[in-house]
Symmetry: none
Subunit: 219 residues, 4 copies
């Protein structure tokens, strides 16, 4: 009994609650899953690898994320959550239209050239393409992936749209320019997979900015 008391006294370290420990562990698993997804792709994604990278037993893992799909979807959600917050922050306080386009380009490059984007694409391509076990599920994996993506990207797009509109660009045009800009960067990010060419990428983005400037002025 004395020993027990002593123990209690000694451990001044802020005794975590179960919920906190649990949350910590879920984070570690999620981070590990994202890492593995980035390294091996969905096709090479192994539950055991995640557990090992996270330094967690398979038992604990399957306690928090019972199935592979659970883990994959949670990972995607996790990583989108992280990224979308940062993007929204950027969209504020841009004065001119040109500055807005520049900031948008920077943000797009950050996003589309990140592992996160590749992971999202990878999962999206796989999409429903598998499973499709006979009877109708509540929602196929492909749909879930798409809805997660949408849920996080739409607010970001809205923020940028507002930023552009605030600099005086008509809503409709702002929307189109926003899409074109995002598409260009997205397209280049994909192109990079087959043949990288950073110098050219930079030049093209500069060209695009000047084209937009010209277009807006001439209007």
């Amino acid at each position: 009994l004395t020993a027990q008391l002593a123990g209690t006294v000694v451990s001044v370290v802020p005794r975590r609650t179960q919920a906190q420990r649990s949350e910590r562990m879920r984070q570690r698993i999620l981070d590990a899953a994202v890492q593995v997804l980035g390294d091996k792709g969905y096709a090479g994604f192994r539950m055991a690898d995640v557990a090992q990278v996270a330094g967690v037993s398979r038992g604990a893992q399957s306690h928090h994320y019972p199935t592979k799909d659970d883990l994959v979807l949670a990972s995607l959600e996790h990583v989108f959550r992280t990224a979308s917050q940062r993007a929204r922050d950027r969209a504020h306080s841009v004065r001119s239209a040109d500055a807005a386009i520049k900031a948008l380009l920077d943000d797009s490059v950050d996003f589309f050239f990140s592992d996160l984007f590749l992971i999202a694409i990878d999962l999206a391509i796989v999409g429903d393409r598998s499973a499709s076990n006979g009877y109708p599920q509540a929602q196929s994996r492909g749909e879930k992936i798409r809805s997660i993506s949408r849920a996080h990207r739409l607010p970001v797009e809205a923020a940028w749209l507002q930023a552009l509109v605030d600099t005086g660009v008509p809503v409709r045009l702002a929307e189109d320019l926003l899409w074109l800009t995002a598409s260009i960067v997205r397209g280049l990010a994909i192109r990079r997979l087959l043949a990288d060419d950073p110098a050219r990428f930079k030049r093209l983005l500069t060209l695009w900015r000047s084209m937009v400037s010209d277009f807006l002025q001439q209007r």
Copy 2:
């Protein structure tokens, strides 16, 4: 003698040579592989599925394509070969710069919105991300994929570049516009995976064409 002649006549059955039979079978396997790759993605790609779809025994399959990688790479090659020829054909006989951009857009849409492109991206994302078999190989799968892509896309790009230059656009600018155009379509094709919106896509491409026209005239 009569019998022999008769025999020759009767046997309308196409009496194939070995090489012909072989080639025919390789084609069937490749077509099936492309189909499966398109339906299930690389992550869901099963050798047995291919054999079944092709209506070929697994033995024959493994005779022509000993390993999964062999088959996948050959499929990619196969499909690229088919597509790149068609693209080169289109690049000829365009008169004005605007017509060239329009034709290029059409071709890009055809290509980037096709299954082939998704397959290529899928494989590229997986890329090296697997292998990891210690010692240095001659060439990793990722590199092979990239080199196949390059081998088939570079001629296409060259053809389009020539077409643009022939309409009077300076080489450097033609190159950049070519890239931007391709990137936009590529980016939209990817975007489609997460949220499709054909009407908007059409509008954006039209906008892009007018931006290019303005830019070229103003120059």
Copy 3:
């Protein structure tokens, strides 16, 4: 509390711990593996057969012994461990040199005519003869087999050597006689594979004993 006590009493069922269950299963697998190895030889050794004989799922099997080599090596170790203990026990309490030779012969016959010995030979012959996976491993299978054999036979030989020396035979000579005796039995055990002849074997061993007696006396 009473219920708990009662529970403890009632549950006469051997309430195994995980470790115990695990150990039990490993034993069953190992025993089955030894049996299959004896029946079919290494060339006919099938993982699935072992699992079936052991009455164990292939999953459990691959949990404890991930690869075929792991299982085979563990089997060899298992069977050697069993045999070497018995041999050492025998080597004690022999009085005369002749009695020692006789006991040694008995022990050798037991060992070399057992399935264990055939298994060891079988594995040793196969030895490195496979592997051939390019780059240098920590230790080839052949080396592992040899080191297991040595690890278990050396103590046995030492025990017999001591027994002979204790009856007054000079160390060097004792060593040689020990080896010759073992070799004769070993050689006969092998001979048996091609043509068995128990009567003659018995006669030869008797002859050998008398030759040793003569040789020792004459010395």
Copy 4:
């Protein structure tokens, strides 16, 4: 017809007959099979490897040796035939009993330490241990192996027995000494698989010779 004659004249090279070419090819296949058997053991024996080593197509191979068993048995026969002839030659012209034992030892070392012997053991151990498909075959593989071994070794043994008897050793004793000698070498050859020790082997053989000498004189 003229062309045919011309052809006949020109080809001064000793036009092999079909039978000769056939025999050449069978030899090459057999040699290759022996080599593979020696390198990989029966467990690692692959028909395709043999064809490749022999530089022969699998078609040709299966023409001459339709099944794996056919080839393996033929290989064993082939190698025994080669070895037994040489042994019989040696058994002649030995004068003293001691010289006979020495020559016998040399011959035994040559035989038992050769790859041939290991191959024979390997096959013998595998023996019937496999197949055993339900209904009674004409003769199991194990029996075939044993009968091949006997067919070739018995004459050798008889030759050596005669040599010993010719030097004055009584038949019965000669037979026993012959067996003991062979067994010792055989036993050492096996021992070598687990732990080699050439110096000791040599010493033991010398000791054995002196023991035999003593024994014969004392008699």
